[in-house]
Assembly symmetry: D2
């Protein structure tokens, strides 16, 4: 028998769209005894949330997340809103006994993140954070190779998340450039992804030295381009990190890298160098991570080898993993503990940038 999980999604913009698609597609491509039911989508603007519901096939829509998270017919609350609302929503959902699936970064600061973790632990509900890139088959394969010891001891990590959408000084002061709403800039939006992959692949980060920079300090207001306002978040964050296992690394995130949109445009490929190969044929091999039949993770559910998947598929994989976890009543990965640890690294980076000192991560 198929078990149905009634989902309430809060948020209908970029992430709301990605999550809606994931709920829609998962059962169509993956075999699973536990499947999501797209029960209700929530948002503040009635017309917009209604349109989103129609577009993606949600059974209902609502403008009150507070009411929805308490509904008895809801099993899972998905928090896909900007960071400043994650904490109250997740806490309320946890209190109501729902599985909580939350977008990254977990919160806008470490204090809120810890509250969220405490809430889900207290309620004993399952929880997951949507660090979708862990679910890219190439990343999952990298993890497997490291765990198998194929790479030997790890000495270095280099991670960059590069975008260019605000390099024009005339680009307006949108909400993502407002600390109250977004918490931080490139740091929380992008460096959080790299930090998650660093932790996933290499291990816990113990110390950071960082520089956060705002290159363009004043920008035109969205509503009144003749006036300007102050950018209160970082345009770029750059950090050196030390891992507990002795490796060192760099984590860079920026919105000022002309020509780079996400810099992960070859999502289906993994570059691998194996020191055990015979010396004369050693070289970085480019693995096209699209083999089904259990050779490569996730991709067998989609298309034959060599047929690419894209960005949105990582969300489908995350939902698949979440459903498997619910099926087995087992904590999914990554979860709010990862979210808290991630936030602690980000907070150490901010702190280091201010103090100009190397900072321990707690």
């Amino acid at each position: 028998m198929t078990r149905k999980i009634n989902v309430a999604l809060i948020g209908y913009q970029f992430m709301g769209k990605a999550h809606s698609n994931a709920y829609l597609q998962m059962p169509r491509f993956f075999e699973s005894d536990t499947v999501p039911v797209m029960r209700v989508i929530c948002g503040r603007h009635e017309a917009n949330v209604q349109a989103a519901a129609t577009k993606f096939g949600w059974q209902e829509w609502s403008t009150s997340w507070e009411a929805v998270v308490k509904r008895k017919d809801i099993d899972l609350v998905d928090v896909s809103t900007p960071g400043d609302s994650h904490m109250p929503m997740a806490v309320a959902a946890a209190k109501a006994g729902k599985v909580v699936f939350c977008e990254k970064p977990l919160a806008n600061n470490l204090k809120e993140a810890k509250k969220m973790l405490a809430a889900v632990q207290k309620s004993g509900v399952l929880h997951m954070i949507c660090h979708n890139y862990r679910k890219a088959p190439a990343v999952t394969l990298a993890k497997k190779l490291i765990e198998e010891g194929k790479l030997g001891d790890l000495y270095h990590f280099r991670g960059t998340y590069l975008q260019d959408w605000i390099v024009d000084p005339k680009f307006p002061l949108v909400w993502r450039l407002d600390k109250r709403k977004a918490g931080s800039g490139a740091l929380g939006d992008l460096a959080s992804h790299v930090t998650d992959l660093a932790r996933f692949l290499v291990g816990e980060i113990s110390e950071v030295s960082a520089v956060l920079e705002t290159f363009i300090k004043e920008r035109p207001l969205v509503d009144n381009p003749k006036k300007t306002g102050t950018v209160t978040v970082d345009d770029a964050s750059l950090a050196i990190v030390r891992f507990e296992n002795g490796a060192i690394g760099s984590i860079e995130a920026t919105r000022f890298a002309p020509g780079r949109k996400n810099y992960n445009e070859r999502l289906n490929e993994l570059e691998l160098y194996l020191r055990d190969d015979p010396h004369y044929v050693q070289g970085f091999r480019n693995i096209l991570v699209t083999e089904g039949g259990g050779v490569h993770p996730y991709v067998g559910a989609w298309w034959p080898p060599g047929h690419l998947i894209g960005y949105e598929h990582t969300f489908v994989h995350a939902v698949y993993d979440l459903m498997q976890a619910i099926s087995k009543n087992k904590l999914p990965s990554p979860n709010f503990e990862d979210g808290v640890k991630n936030q602690a690294v980000l907070e150490a980076m901010e702190s280091s940038s201010k103090s100009k000192k190397r900072v321990k991560v707690y």
Copy 2:
């Protein structure tokens, strides 16, 4: 008001899955006043077709395509079966006055292809062939650049479609290696794609010199691996072509290229060299074809810049174009005329390989 097009899909395997997904996704991402309704899916094996219907949300399923194509409530017949059945299905659908959307190659030979074109023309129905790669944004952009004259006169075309799935001599004699079922091997399956892109981007092909080769002539039977049977199609086809506009080119397709699964793994990228750039900065530029806002074709409907789309999206674009054509009652592109011309090129290649002479394409 939204116009609804009731679709009957014949076939539920690889292409059936790709088409089902396309009908499902198109209205969720694209704005269109004409949208498909997933009315009925047809197939020979009842259990399988029923499972496919459930999986992808078809309202009904049937094991009789003959009955379905005549149904009054069907507007569009989608032929996604192996090549040997295209002709009878498309002809029947045309006679019944349905829009016909057919997988490539149009038929297993030129004679059948011409019958199909004659049928749709006689009935006056709209028709389209699913050469999905034309709908990859990078290809559509290349076409636009050529039409704008950005590349100047065209002298050369090089197209390769490389796979490796039968390089092992023990791989069994599946239906795709049986001429009666598949019509041809790499030629119809893969070279037809390259030929379509050559025609789309450069122009009509006037002459071909070709070699078709079957490297492994006997293979184990699927049902009885101790016995072998004869491979009756080509493992690889290699052709030199001349275009009507004076350009020359090569079209290669093979299932014997170790390491190549499809050789289009960077589907979101276009390499472009412009001779008009200042001399000291001339170079091949790698265009990440993911900009929305009308900058790059199709992609604005999906995700922000830098977020990749994959293989399946090309089918969604094809369905979108088909719906737009239906909406305007205008012949979509590519259509059965393209299918016939494509088939004529393939047939000339086969003929050239046998006669060892350069052959004109009629």
Copy 3:
């Protein structure tokens, strides 16, 4: 004791410069008991040949190759002139009992090439043809891998040599576009290189189907740009080939590929796919062929791993191989037999282009 080989070089332009540099550099980087002595350089224009002699340190210069090739103090004659003079020079050198080292293509046609081979065989002198790309470490490594059976049976060869220097219709009618002087265009200049690599790596070519094309048929005269003359060679040559061992391939050469200067810009890298790798880590590996210590061929003589060598080094390697062959009184490779076989393939391509038929190579 070091054995000294007195060299007479005929030609001081592009190839003369490359060969001069090779004689100069070889003993400075390679250990060899046989070394070249730069005795005399020959050319028709006195001032130019004198300048070349001074520049590169030739002991003498001369305007009479006829006199020089007979000199008793000369051991080796190096023919680095345009193709129309190769035959008389090589034949005279052979008759005089000299080692003959000749630039490619061996001659402007098969008949002349055969005369040259007959002459060196009759005289019993050592002979070598300068197909320098065989001496690129990446190519030599590829050969080794094939001989070891690492690639298994070979099914496909794809070789392109792409340039763009005459794509502008106003580019003048230089000697390389004159059949009397150059023998052919892209065919002899570029396709001869690809043909040599095809023979070296895959084996003998048995049949060809080819198209030779001259896109721009009239060009301005060098001396009088207001007048035009007829281009008598091919701008591009494109061929399908069959090898004796059953493999098929394509050989393309053109001077009309905008943006491509030689298309071998990553000379130190070899892309290799091994089907024997564990399935989940299979991928094309990029081998940086710069490891010394006997791991990779030739490069140990130059710099530590990771320090690139360039185009000119392939000529140094050729001279090194030639000296080793002289030292052991053993026929070097490639030699005039290769030159004749190469010429036979080129001639078959020309013939096929005219007859529009597949042509056997004799």
Copy 4:
């Protein structure tokens, strides 16, 4: 009239070989009214220095650099020894009124570097430091593009110099791992190169936060592999830098990056993104920096477009620039002032790694 500059080279190993080759090749490829004469090579081991002299054509050899640098017939002293001897040699050469050309890093510490600068300034002699990568045509072109404003304001610099030659813990304790001899490890050997390029392309560095790490702290002794000794230099150095112009960057150097030998294996290519391109064709362009005729720097002296140059050519370009500077009696670039500034950055990195604080560069 050609002016001849008598050169004394101290050192005959890796750098001695590279410099010898540069003196040899420069006048053979470049037009210059000032040319080096290979007068004398110095080294401690008589047999070795004699062999080097013979190999590369030095007129004399000597085991006493002290005597040589005072000789009246010497115009230029080239210091290509390990870092611990740079200071005394350069100071002595300066006092003797010679042009001084010194390998990088200028010295093993800032104090010595400043002494060297003071010495050449006091004597009024010309001086140059051999940061050869500035002379790679791709780097020189990048500088030109930045100076022209083609890249607009600079926000980010990312530089990595990656090697892997000591990743095996059994690799012995060679002199490069001994602080007394080498001054530092990856920092002075590799990060100095990246720092030079950062200063050349972006501007002066004002602050650094760095981590230096020694992953393998004990290694077998060279002479007695059964015993081990302590590694006293860094295996890797990783720094965040701030530039005076507001840009931020990272500078990484390591000998623990498996598969990377130098990570500059595409020395002839420059990746460039121009925001001024029409939006729909924006992309990173790969410029093959091999066009002569004044289009690209230096390369016109070598071979036609598309024919690669390698590592050693950067030294030839440095010697060419040095000769031009001598000809015009103008300070060459980069010179000891650059050496001192570079050393100040490296010293700040060491200091920051120890203090765990962001450090200003003086």
